[in-house]
Amino acid sequence: MMVFDSLLALIIAALAWRCVTVRDLFQAIVTFIVLGLMLALSWTRLDAPDLALAEAGIGAGLLGVLLLSTWRVVRDAGPDQGEGPPPSPWVRTAAAVGSIALGTAFAVVLHTVEVDSDRAGGLALESLGEAGVEQPVTAVLLNFRSYDTLLELGVLLMALIGAVLLRSPLIHRPAAEDTGTESPLLPVLVTVFTPLVLLMGTFLVWAGAHSPGGAFQGGAVLAGAGVMLVLGGRLGGDAQVSLLLRALLILGVSVFTVIGLLLMPLEGAFMAYPEGLVYPLMVTIEFSLALSIGLTLLLLFTGTNGLRGAPA
């Protein structure tokens, strides 16, 4: 396997280099997406299959579609986007020297670091019995370090409000003049994306046997399904937002916070859960999180306030 790993690592480094240096923006984006998939592959080799799926689904998949859609806007606007002049050879040389030094330093550090094996993660693995879920990462995300997850939902919401403030929706309607040679991209995207979503759906079903599943992966699947509906013209962005949709967007963060605050006087700590109720609470929180995450990611994709079913 050493040969396979080395080859994979080499491919990753080469793709990163190509993504940064290739002239054409479109090729840079495609390289970035392939890089994401290769990273996902390498992370399965490092015992992190759940992260591999998150990277493939969110990092490469969802972000990839978003990058390609934005590329269309950039392309249609013409070549000159008022960017500054290319950096001088001096800057280039300095950046090259700096990055080689940085990379070397990191490589040396990663090879010489004396890892402490007595760590919080080991404690987390030992305390799984008290967490209410069996899957260790889910236990950390929803119980031991649930506060991080709660705040992270705030980041998602803020990014969405920012995108809404910008009023720069992506137009996904396959208009008459937009089909055929003008946009060979969409069908390709759908074909690339469908198996990914299916793969992740399968993973979630499988994970559900051991734990309530992963809220992030589940949310990503939801968003992925929504994105495909948008690309297929079945669902569209809408400037108007319904109260229901907004309520669903904040469902995760509200449920998480309110449960934590209500139980705080009883349990003596924020986000502490009574022993008998841990499992049902975890499931409730997880499902509301998945729903909110999925919808937020979908709206970040359409860049609009709301959603509506497009006229058939």
Binding site: A105, F106, V108, V109, T112, V113, E114, V115, D116, S117, D118, R119, A120, G121, G122, L123, A124, S127, N143, F144, R145, S146, Y147, D148, L151, E152, G154, V155, L157, M158, A159, I161, G162, V164, L165, L166, R167, L243, R246, A247, L249, I250, V253, S254, T257, V258, L261, M264, P265, E267, G268, A269, F270, M271, A272, Y273
Partner: protein, 481 residues
């Protein structure tokens, strides 16, 4: 009850912002004002109980360290909370005048501002290295959309630049978090100092990443290039918050990291380098501030300069310097908020803020110009003001440690600040004949003038409140009492 206060100080504004998003324009301005009031009261109660009973700790989820995340409020956190929530409350009052009408953009403003307020409180009470990363991201990603409230057309480039640096800075910081965890096996700020010090090259790399990441987010020279456009083009209330609180929160983090988890690993050369960077920031920022043609850009570049003073703590690293640096953070926060709110009133009244076309503002905008002058006294470091106390403490520290060159920096910095503040005042008071300025906007509502003035007065009052604030702060961590 007291151990719940840190949680409430974070989640009253956070949940308030989320619910503002749910309810939309109809809730403006009643709901945001209720939340602002509750937040301020809760945070002041928290500061009060720290004053009376000492540090407060709350283990989230009931999990012990290193498994869970601790919230900790010590003297330093309490002082920052005091600054954050007093300035935050006054900015909310100001914004009631500026963004108090119903409307989609105003609704988003309030949602984001309450979220930002809660995020800043979250950053100040966090005792966990990774949680601080999340809090930093919360702060940035609520601050950047807030810049857009002024209208995307003129702010989008600034916001994009801001986002690039914020995102890159936090990833550099995250690399430091990862290496720290590798070496120490924990993320609790109180448990990682020892392992980091013994961590060899990895420990040094971790420390360097943490520090550089925070410096990028704090807009310290040479990472400042995104700041003037963002702070100069945002709406006044947002500029005030960005300059007074947001970059300050990163400086707070730098002080916190340096004196606690990184205390055993910091080397003198790095400390001297930070001091030199600080001196460069003071010189460069002040000269740029003097050269600007727009009022808000003068104030924005002044922030670039003023952040440098807090960096002078590192090469001196004695108790006096510690007190001086933190006091400077507080004094600058209050004064800078006053400057930006006053500048916002000028912008509202005149319709632009081009310095050369401002004249005779002392009559119609007497309160705002007065607020600007009072805050200016503190920025220049003249007595009696908070800025004077801070610079006096830093000056004493420079002499105490025999590093007289920092004293020179402080004195020159004061003259430079005087130059750009008086330049603004000269234009504002100028009654010389010339093309009469065209007045495009209304006289700012009383609320907006008085909040600016109140902050201006506060920056003077800080010259007399040294004892209680420094008492709350406590001595330099790790130093003998």
């Amino acid at each position: 009850m007291t151990e719940f206060l840190p949680v409430l100080a974070v989640f009253i504004p956070l949940l308030g912002g989320v619910l503002q998003f749910l309810m939309g324009p109809r809730a403006v301005p009643v709901w945001p004002m209720v939340v602002s009031g509750a937040t301020t009261v809760c945070a002041l109660a928290l500061v009060g109980s720290v004053t009376n009973q000492g540090d407060i700790q709350h283990m989230l989820g009931g999990w012990e360290a290193p498994l869970g995340i601790p919230l900790r409020v010590d003297g330093l956190a309490a002082v920052m909370l005091l600054l954050n929530n007093v300035v935050g409350g006054l900015v909310s009052l100001y914004a009631l005048g500026a963004h108090g009408r119903s409307g989609a953009v105003n609704s988003h403003f309030w949602a984001l501002w309450l979220l930002l307020w809660g995020s800043l409180n979250a950053l100040f009470v966090s005792g966990d290295l990774f949680n601080l990363y999340v809090a930093l991201e919360l702060v940035s990603l609520s601050a950047i959309p807030l810049v857009l409230v002024a209208g995307p057309r003129k702010t989008v480039a600034a916001a994009l630049n801001y986002l690039h640096f914020a995102l890159f800075g936090s990833l550099v910081y995250l690399a430091g978090v990862g290496l720290t965890y590798a070496v120490a096996g924990s993320l609790d700020l109180t448990l990682i100092a020892g392992p980091l010090a013994e961590g060899g090259p990895a420990g040094h790399m971790a420390a360097a990443c943490l520090i550089v990441g925070v410096l990028i987010k704090a807009a310290i020279v040479p990472f400042h290039i995104w700041l003037p456009a963002a702070h100069g083009n945002a709406p006044a209330a947002v500029s005030a918050v960005l300059s007074a609180l947001v970059v300050k929160s990163c400086m707070y983090l730098l002080l916190r990291l340096w004196t606690e988890p990184l205390a055993g690993i910091t080397v003198d050369a790095a400390a001297q380098l930070l001091g030199i960077i600080g001196a460069a920031a003071i010189g460069y920022g002040s000269v740029q501030a003097f050269r600007q043609e727009r009022l808000k850009l003068v104030v924005a570049y002044s922030t670039v300069a003023q952040l440098g003073y807090m960096l002078l703590f590192f090469p001196m690293a004695v108790a006096t310097a510690w007190e001086g640096a933190v006091y400077h953070g507080v004094a600058h926060g209050v004064a800078k908020a006053a400057l930006f709110l006053a500048a916002g009133n000028v912008l509202l009244y005149v319709g632009h803020d081009r310095l050369r076309e401002l004249r005779g503002l002392d009559r119609p905008l007497a309160l705002s110009v007065f607020a600007f002058a009072l805050a200016g006294v503190s920025i220049m470091g003249l007595p009696p003001s908070g800025g004077f106390i801070a610079k006096w403490l830093l000056l004493s520290a420079a002499l105490e440690t025999g590093q007289w060159w920092w004293a020179l920096v402080l004195i020159v910095g004061g003259f430079l600040a005087a130059a750009y503040i008086f330049r603004v005042l000269r234009y504002a008071f100028l009654n010389a004949p010339g093309p009469t300025i065209e007045i495009e906007g209304p006289v700012p509502p009383r609320l907006m003038s008085w909040t600016a003035l109140l902050l201006g007065v506060l920056s003077i009052v800080l010259g007399f409140t040294t004892a209680p604030i420094l008492g709350l702060l406590g001595g330099l961590p790790g130093a003998a009492p």
